[in-house]
Structures are given as C-alpha cells and as structure tokens.
Amino acid sequence: MSDVEIIGTPERTVSRRKFIMGVIAAGATTSSVGYLFKGPQPLLGALAVQGSVERLITLNVNGQQRRVDVLNQETLAFTLRYKLGLTGTKLGCDRAECGACTVLVDGVPSYACSVLTHSVRTQQITTVEGLEEPDGTLHPVQQAVLDEGGFQCAFCAPGFIMSMVAMVESNPNPTREEAAQALSGNLCRCADYNKILTSAMRAAEYSRQQA
C-alpha cells in the first residue's frame, strides 16, 4: 500500500464547489480498485486509482490530541483499538448490540463500533483508559466497581463503566430502575446484572460525595 498524501488535493481538483471542503478523501484500499470501475466515475476517481489513501487527522482522545491515519470506512472502535492501541474498548459484536465498545463522544455514550472515526473527529472521545487520574486515582465509577466486585469475565466492563460514567453525570441520584435504564444498552453475558446495578448505585453515591 502506498501512502499517497492527498491533503488539500481534493479542494484543488474541484475547488469551485464549496461542499468539497467537506471531502475527506477518495478512499480505496488496493482491493477495491476493481470496484471503482463498476459504478459511475467517482468524483475523485483519478485520485482513487493511484492507490490507497489515508488521511491524517487529529483526534481528541482522553484529553490528548492524537494524530492518526484513518480510512474513510474506519469505525471509531477500530481506530481506538488498532491504531491508537486503546484496547480497553472491546468488540463483542461489532454491530451496535452489546455495548462492549461504548465510549463517550462529547460525554455521550456511543457504540464505537458503529460510528465512523471521521464523523467524530472534532469531538472529544473518552475511553475507559481515560478515566483514571494521571496519579492512578480511579474514577469514582471505577472505584465503585472495584469496591463492589462488579463483573465476572468483565469483557463487557469497559462499556458498562462508560455508560455508568455518563449516567452519574446526567443523573447523580438514580433509582435502581433508572440505573438499569441507563445501562440497558450494554449486554453482560455472565448476566451479572445485579452486581453491576449495585456497583452503579455505589458509583452514583461516590460521585455525589465527590461533587
């Protein structure tokens, strides 16, 4: 795969159209070249057939600006896990069903497997790795889970924890039912829901204390 630098090129190619300012890249891995010839001539076909192109973007992850090459079709979960080494974000289904990949996008829980990295490149991403203080102090949610011994296999834990973080922000004093609602986008196959809910209630308590 060649690394053709194309930043700026798209604007030049069709500069008279202002929407092209929004163009990310003409993306094609080597393998999709054949596909490009099937459809109508791609807008940037000439570029595309030069080979694969990636575009370096700056992603705000856990408060850090990270420079990263991102394919057009790349999901946030892939960028985090495979480009930025943030493997705390898990892929349980890769279909927006299990919640193991839940991260916060501007503080809002989202399935990282089902959002393009490019769609959130101006937003702040928080993953489970970003919760701890630099000195190792755990986030109140993490401390609560630790104290309550939440989770069994814990493959779902990072996702649940991110949902809990969002929950304690938006509803610091939830009932158990409300906590369950807030966590309903996360699946735990060990079905340790009771302990997870207890952890969530404890997390809310810790957060209130901290606030």
Partner: protein, 333 residues
C-alpha cells in the same frame, strides 16, 4: 448465508455542511450514493457487505438538519435530531408525549444517542431473509422466502402485504402518523411535503424501497402541527426484550375527548404491515363515541378485519386487536 464477509469495503466519504450540497452529491452518485445519518442501520449493511455504496454522504456536519424548533403552527424537528433529543425535549414531552414515548422505546440509550429521527423512519426492514442477503423481491430477486409455508415468519406482516411480507421496523412512525405530521423532502427540484402515512412505500408499488425517497432526495425535517398538542395519547410497543428489540406490534393514538365523547382521533400501528398503518377504519368506529372497553374491542376487531396470517404470526391478530383496545381504554395494562 454463512459466507461471513465483515469489514466495511472502501467508499468515498463526503461531509457536506448544507443539505443542498448533500443533495447535489447524492444526485451525482444516484443509486451508488448512501446517506449516512446516525448510521445505526447503515453499518450493518456495510459490514455484511450486502450493500456497497461508492460514496457515503455523512450528514453529521449539516447543522441545519438538527434540533427541535417551534413554528407558527406547531413544531419542526430536524431530520438529524437524535432520538435522545426527541425523547427528552421539554416541549415534546409536554405536548406530544406520544412521540417522546416512541423515541424512548427505540433500542438502547447508545442507539438513541446517535440514531436520528429520520433514520428511525427511513431504516430498512428487519426481515431476516432479506437481511441475510437472500435474493428476495426486496433485494431485486423474484421471490419472498418469508411467506413460504415453511418459513420462519413470526415477526412478519399480517396486513397490506404484496409479495413481500416484511414489516417496517420504525417505532416513531406510528406516533408521527397519530400526530398528523408532515415530512419535508428536499430534492433537486426543491421541497415537497408529504403526510406521515404517505412517506412509506408499500411493496405493491416499489418492493425494493421502504420509503418514497428517491435517490438524490433527503428527508430534511418533520413538522408536527399543533392540532394534536396536549391531546390524549397512547403508545405501546410490544417486544420480546425490553431493550434492543423491534416491535412485534406498536400502536399509537391521539384522541380529543370532550363531553365524554371521542371528538377526533388518529391511530396508527406498526409491526402489522410492510408500512406503518394508519387505522382509519378503527378511527371511524371511535369517532363520536364514548370511549369504553366494548368500543375498544370493536375498534380492534375492525383493525384486524383483513388480516391474513402467515404460518407463525397469527398471534399478531389478537395482539393488534388488544393494543387498539388498550389505546381506547387508555391504559397500558
């Protein structure tokens, strides 16, 4: 089919900042273009490699399509407004709770956080034959596997089928039909308005599309007239699991009751037919009558009068009837 493909094939990606620019791109790419809203339906198709757009037009940066606005005669919701915003918007909660109820019943918090109202309306059906990449009518083929006498079709349609028996999966559609909403569609030739119930494409007309949107057209906003503001609403979705599931049946209704009589009513159901259904016959039964359980049963019977069950979905007949009955009774149990 067990040929597991996975991994999204490459496409060109555009992030226009205005609807006009988006439409221009969509016209350029025609059938090979793809509108990316919240993406909650799109990613499945791409990852399964069943649908492979050449170009994806991501509407994330089109701010004009986002947000809830009050208008002179009601309220307008931008197409890209997330379901969470819809579900928690104070004015909608106060006056159009049938819609907030519906939005709050969609899937999970994470999906509501990214998923948009337009996406919920325009999403593709969940028929597992079609979703599995089978070459059915909807996929451009010449058969419906789901209606075969041996087929697994408990989630399929009992009404309004025409070769295809898949159901519309939208939770918000019946609420918007009950609210007499209008959908704003923008295309190369400007804007057009359609009634909520006319937005959905019956398979008898075009078996391959779920909505009347043509390539190059964009659903830009949903307008809710003030007609039904503060009316008596009912919304119920029956699903197998309480999160991340599609409705086996949904009924939504708006009623104006005064003097002990139903003066005006709009009622809709989803999960029953390939398109969200407005239950006009039931409305006729109800109009001018005093609400009672007996009347509810009558309205329910009328709703399922033409139902034709498949091998495994006969239960939808009593389910639909009962939900209509409950809508009249006004209690969810």
């Amino acid at each position: 089919m067990a040929i597991i493909r996975d991994m999204i094939p490459a496409f060109e990606l555009f992030q226009p900042t205005s609807a006009d620019d988006a439409i221009e791109l969509l016209i350029r790419y025609g059938e090979d273009g793809w509108v990316l809203g919240g993406g909650m339906d799109s990613f499945d198709w791409w990852k399964e490699r069943i649908k492979r757009p050449t170009a994806v037009v991501d509407l994330a940066n089109v701010d004009a399509l986002k947000g809830v606005r009050s208008t002179a005669d009601g309220i307008e919701i931008g197409a890209m407004t997330t379901l969470t915003e819809v579900a928690t918007h104070p004015e909608l909660l106060a006056n159009y709770s049938v819609l907030t109820d519906a939005a709050a019943h969609v899937a999970t918090p994470q999906i509501r956080n990214r998923g948009t109202l337009a996406g919920n309306l325009a999403q593709d059906t969940r028929c597992w034959y079609y979703r599995g990449g089978w070459p059915c009518y909807r996929a451009g083929g010449n058969t419906c596997y789901a209606s075969a006498p041996t087929a697994m079709n408990r989630e399929h349609a009992i009404l309004g089928t025409n070769r295809c028996v898949a159901v519309s999966p939208s939770d918000t559609a019946p609420a918007l039909i009950a609210l007499d909403a209008q959908f704003v569609i923008q295309g190369s030739r400007g804007e057009r308005l359609v009634d909520a119930e006319d937005f959905f494409m019956p398979p008898s007309v075009d078996i391959e599309r779920m909505t009347i949107l043509k390539p190059g057209e964009l659903l830009t906003a949903i307008r809710i007239p003030s007609t039904w503001s503060g009316a008596t609403f009912y919304y119920e979705k029956v699903e197998d699991r309480k999160a991340w599931d599609f409705a086996l049946m949904t009924v939504a209704s708006a009623m104006r009751i005064s003097g002990g009589v139903i003066q005006e009513v709009r009622m809709a159901a989803n999960g029953a037919a390939p398109v969200p259904l407005r239950l006009e016959d039931s409305e006729r039964v109800l109009r001018g009558q005093a609400p009672s359980d007996q009347l509810g049963i009558q309205a329910g019977e009328v709703a399922v009068r033409d139902a034709q069950p498949l091998r495994h979905n006969d239960y939808k007949i009593p389910l639909m009837r009962n939900l209509v009955r409950r809508a009249v009774r006004g209690t969810e149990a």
